[in-house]
Symmetry: C2
Subunit: 143 residues, 2 copies
DNA sequence: TCCTATTTATGATTTATATCATGTTTTTCC
DNA sequence: GGAAAAACATGATATAAATCATAAATAGGA
């Protein structure tokens, strides 16, 4: 559905949203265990996110990664696209070319709703909203 | 979400359900183009399905693959499990170990519904039902 | 009984994903 | 201005998924 890499990325972004700011940056080495991924792999992922402006970073001493208000404007789908390259979002569950929303195939019609719903949520949910939900205690995020 | 291999398999099973019977078996070479996969790869998939009794087969001259009434009793999830090994059905969308249905994580709570729905449909839909829908013209399946 | 058409079994190859490792650049502090 | 601390860039390796190729087993028909 979405790659492991994208999952790591989403977790990391949420964590940064909850625990970082421009005045309190976070280092890869202090984050990788929580995400349950190796330090060097997380580093690569964070760099990719930074390059696409999903998160912010500062080099050198006192550097690190953090989330600004602007960063929070991205959707979860943006994150997935940066890491999975947008290829997973194909219209038909069975990969039938003549199948689309107006003319859904047998399975699409049944199963497709679940997938469409999944995509829709990814597309509509902004990082900032998710963070807000978590801060208000409405949601659970055990990292 | 589900592998390409599983998609090929589902397509093939549906096709067999619509166009084959014990007295009218179908050869790999007459099917692979419709599924849009190579002949040898489809052969491998059909063999795997046959071994797990999802479809039926006969060797030798006048042999081929076909679907019996008994075969139709399997669910779509059965097909997926045979080819993907059941590993994709992990509980949490983000792979968080402490997250489950009773205690859903932030994303699980939002996105999870889509995935759960998807799984449910796979689990509940029997091959025979899907075939019936198609034969009655209620569904679309352009192969 | 022998030949041919078919599934079946097995292994090799390619491609994609995930992961690791190492060197380079930038920034801040002393 | 030099040294240390950090992100950044790049390439190598490992693992898994997808695909291909070939030989063996089986069954039917002449």
């Amino acid at each position: 559905m979405i790659s492991k890499t994208a999952k790591y990325a989403i977790k990391a972004v949420i964590y940064l949203g909850l625990h970082s700011s421009e005045s309190h940056k976070i280092l890869t080495r202090d984050l990788y265990e929580k995400i349950q991924v190796s330090e060097s792999y997380l580093a690569k992922i964070l760099q990719e996110l930074s390059r696409h402006n999903i998160i912010s970073s500062a080099k050198g001493r006192n550097g690190g990664f953090y989330l600004t208000r602007d960063n929070g404007d991205h959707t979860l789908m943006d994150i997935v696209r940066v890491l999975d390259g947008g290829q997973y979002v194909d219209s038909c569950v069975l990969g039938i070319s003549q199948c689309n929303a107006e003319h859904p195939c047998a399975l699409h019609d049944k199963v497709g709703k679940g997938k469409t719903e999944f995509n829709r949520v990814l597309e509509e949910t902004r990082v900032s909203e998710l963070i807000a939900d978590l801060q208000e205690g409405d949601a659970y995020f055990p990292l």
